[in-house]
């Protein structure tokens, strides 16, 4: 039975929202395959495929590494692995967030012509960027081998970190996708915010340079998203606070997205 939004029982709308999110996670096969398809199709007619992204990332890591180790008087052996992991992971996180903004618009035709789950579009996007990240991480591996950083010891922690990051990117992606489908300005706001956040997040500089203001960094959620995967790569254990923050953010974010979907899900075809 299909009822108007105003007359549909709340429980039914909550069930729809839950189904949307749950099926998204359950059909891993679906979005992993589509993400892989997206990657293959995107680079089908190039000779180097996704390695072109690696070349671009390697160039920015190389040039930034060179300049900043001179400007900031850093020891390249310590600084380059830090910078390489930072840039690569930041790129992953920020692309997932900024590209989520356009995702519902991108699939407008599908949304307007079939009954579909919305979460799978975001998961497909995250899947795609995980694959790109996997390529980019080879840069870090090369840097780590050259400068003898033991990244293998903490590999399980890295995997755990990736899961936490993906869960958080999922709700952030859903949130910004829904908001920017409804309010087109949000896309611009997010893009501007991400380039600002790149500067105020310790991606290419160390938290320690903040001196007595270093504690301020804990209020930046992106610091935790970055640290939980970067620290293990550099052979360190992320702080307990980082885990707490990410679990808390993840839980709160998923609830927020669930509530948004409960109340607004059926209006999404009108937005895009």
């Amino acid at each position: 039975m299909i009822l108007p939004v105003s007359k549909t029982p709340l429980a039914a709308m909550a069930a729809e929202a839950w189904q949307d999110m749950y099926r998204g996670f359950r059909d891993v096969d679906f979005w992993v395959r589509l993400a892989y398809f997206d990657l293959v199709l995107r680079y089908r007619r190039t000779s180097f495929g996704p390695w072109w992204v690696v070349v671009t990332t390697a160039l920015s890591v190389g040039s930034l590494g060179l300049i900043f180790s001179l400007v900031m008087h850093q020891n390249p052996a310590k600084y380059l692995p830090y910078l390489a992991s930072g840039i690569i992971l930041w790129q992953f996180i920020s692309l997932c967030i900024t590209i989520s903004c356009d995702t519902l618009e991108k699939y407008a035709e599908t949304i307007n012509n079939t009954r579909t789950d919305y979460s799978r579009f975001i998961l497909r996007l995250i899947g795609y960027h995980v694959l790109i990240l996997a390529h980019n991480l080879t840069i870090f591996v090369v840097v780590a081998v050259i400068f003898k950083v033991d990244f293998l010891v903490m590999l399980p922690l890295f995997a755990l970190g990736m899961i936490l990051v993906m869960i958080n990117l999922y709700w952030i992606g859903m949130l910004v996708a829904l908001l920017s489908a409804r309010f087109h300005d949000v896309t611009q706001v997010i893009q501007a915010a991400m380039s600002l956040l790149f500067l105020i997040t310790p991606v290419f500089w160390h938290k320690q340079v903040l001196g007595k203001f270093a504690y301020l960094a804990v209020f930046n959620p992106l610091v935790h998203l970055l640290d939980v995967v970067r620290d293990p790569l550099l052979g360190q254990v992320p702080s307990a606070l980082t885990y707490e923050a990410l679990i808390g953010m993840g839980a709160a974010g998923l609830i927020l997205v669930f509530l948004l979907l409960t109340f607004k899900r059926r209006l999404i075809p009108f937005w895009v």
């Binding site: 039975m1 299909i2 009822l3 679906f30 199709l41 949304i111 409804r182 949000v186």
Partner: protein, 254 residues
């Protein structure tokens, strides 16, 4: 087949369905509007109500097993909106709708089609986009491939196809899935004459397997051949629900 003396079960029941389609232009869609309304309180008195278009206005009908409903009406009369409400894409603004069975909607050809993927890959992609499971579409794909008659072209990217060939492929995919309730929007010229006739036959076959069909089209011949009931829409209002001849006569008169 309906048992004599027994009414066939009702599959679709719509009771005074209305749809107000909210239009979000840059004014109402922009965040600034919300922010200024929020921040400046009563200072800025701007009309920020969402403009909406009444796409459907009190449409009621009932379809039993075996019914084929033709939706007739001018462009913008609400045919597509009604199909989208039936498909569960748009929520009605008032009234209610009851559907029994698996619903499938062919509202747009080439949904989920990727130009750089091969025809064979697109069978999977389009199937997934239409909400069919992977196992199901993989099971159907040899039959789809055969029906499309694209042969070795199936291993080439769809980019290299002529528009007729691409349409042929998407029709073959879309018509391979037999639901209980099928919603079709404008089945128009599919490929060359030979394929068109084949497509017609397939559509007939599909229609036979399907319990209920709702079809919007301007092709009166097609509707006469397929449908046993008709609904004429004008400005979202239901003008008449009757047999097809009367409806087409009414539609052609206006």
């Amino acid at each position: 087949m309906p048992v004599p003396g027994l009414e066939p079960p009702i599959r679709v029941e719509a009771v005074s369905l209305s749809l107000d389609y909210p239009v979000f232009d840059s004014q109402s869609q922009s965040l600034r509007n919300k922010v200024t309304r929020f921040g400046l309180g009563g200072l800025v008195q701007r009309d920020t109500r969402v403009v909406s278009v009444r796409a459907l206005d009190g449409v009621s009908f009932r379809l039993s097993e075996g019914d084929r409903l033709a939706l007739v009406g001018e462009n913008g009369s609400g045919k597509s909106s009604l199909l989208r409400v039936l498909a569960g894409i748009y929520p009605p603004s008032s009234g209610f709708l009851r559907l029994r069975g698996r619903v499938s909607a062919l509202l747009s050809t080439g949904l989920g089609m990727e130009m750089d993927a091969t025809g064979r890959e697109n069978i999977l992609l389009c199937g997934l986009a239409m909400g069919v499971t992977r196992q199901e579409i993989l099971g159907l794909s040899p039959e789809i491939a055969e029906f499309s008659e694209l042969g070795t072209f199936l291993d080439l990217p769809v980019r290299t196809y002529s528009s007729g060939m691409a349409l042929r492929l998407s029709f073959s995919i879309a018509s391979a899935i037999a639901p209980d309730i099928l919603l079709i929007d404008e089945v128009i010229g599919i490929g060359d004459r030979k394929f068109y006739e084949k497509a017609q036959r397939r559509l007939l076959g599909l229609l036979r397997q399907t319990q209920v069909i709702v079809m919007a089209s301007h092709d009166c011949e097609l509707l006469r051949g397929f449908c046993n009931k008709a609904l004429v829409l004008q400005n979202g209002r239901c003008m008449i629900t009757s047999d097809v001849e009367d409806a087409i006569a009414l539609y052609e008169k206006t």
